[in-house]
Symmetry: C2
């Protein structure tokens, strides 16, 4: 059966984004220059981890990860990634507001799911073919998937800075038993992979 995995870059104090996201500031308030420096400044060192991020047959993401729009859909927002997003697969976007699917170049189609994280993961599982399901973020969506016992593997990419405020991985999630299945550092990041030990979590 497909695993449900999640990659997320965080500060040393656990934040994946600051408050007050806007179109100009996708990661919100604060100096976020270090959050993804490992990806952009040292891609060769981190080739395996970068490749793993988009190695899934389907993706689930929160609305803030998809865009800065709140409330009813308006305009023609198609994500932060330009005409050919890096997913090349169906992406199920959590939202309270229905919207018709948006097909992009390269095989990415954004589907809008209004009935919650469990339904979104179920739709991702139902995508034909082999491969994992990836919860792509942000932290709120990751935390929903953790709290619901949906996640099998969490891959934290811990960057060398602290943010002090924002949206944080694990906030509001009941205590978890984890198994450290991999941990490796490169110049600008420590990659830690945890298997979520599900005993005691909701089915």
């Amino acid at each position: 059966m497909s695993k449900v995995v999640c990659d997320i870059s965080i500060s040393a104090d656990g934040y994946s984004a600051g408050h007050n996201q806007t179109e100009e500031q996708p990661f919100g308030d604060g100096d976020m220059s270090m959050l993804h420096a490992w990806m952009f400044d040292t891609p060769e060192e981190n080739r395996a981890e970068l490749k793993a991020i988009t190695n899934a047959k389907a993706f689930v993401m929160g609305r803030n990860m998809f865009g800065p729009i709140r409330g009813e859909w308006s305009g023609d927002w198609k994500g932060w990634w330009g005409p050919e997003p890096p997913y090349h697969a169906p992406v199920f976007v959590l939202t309270h507001y229905p919207r018709a699917p948006v097909a992009m170049a390269g095989g990415t189609t954004f589907h809008f799911v209004t009935d919650g994280i469990e339904a979104a993961v179920a739709r991702a599982r139902a995508v034909p073919g082999a491969g994992d399901i990836a919860v792509a973020g942000g932290a709120s969506t990751v935390n929903q998937s953790l709290a619901a016992g949906l996640l099998d593997e969490l891959r934290l990419h811990i960057a060398p800075f602290t943010l002090g405020a924002g949206t944080r991985v694990f906030d509001g999630v009941p205590p978890l038993k984890l198994e450290q299945v991999a941990s490796r550092a490169t110049s600008l990041v420590t990659h830690v992979t945890y298997r979520i030990v599900k005993a005691g979590l909701p089915d």
Copy 2:
């Protein structure tokens, strides 16, 4: 000049202890069995990091790390470590309540400092001889030292579990620039050493 260093074991969500510390429960509420499992179950794998923890000429610690007593001193509490604590050096304990120094076997003497973290670090620096100053914990004391710009190096030992509540490293500390100077994993822990980049912090 001596560096001011800090070793602290934390959960993946950043906690070093739960709430409600007591003499029977030095790390407070919650299942803390994984926090120090790396020390006790796999000491051989972690020999270098274990040795580094007590490799200082003087130590600074918070009152909760020294003991469960609150308010005025009473009884004859001499720390959690028995007659011969592992420090073998002066230990400056932050407290609001004066107390005469307590000399232990093996060279550890507990001194009680009532004028704050800066004074405690200054007294530790003034100890004769070469060697680093270690801020031994807990998180509140670590955070005070970070916020005051006193810490040069923070060594996090990240254990595979989440706690969900308690005292957390970095809470209340302004955003920090860090340099990841070392990162290494063993079976039950990821050790990450950060140099604190002090530009912009108080002198």
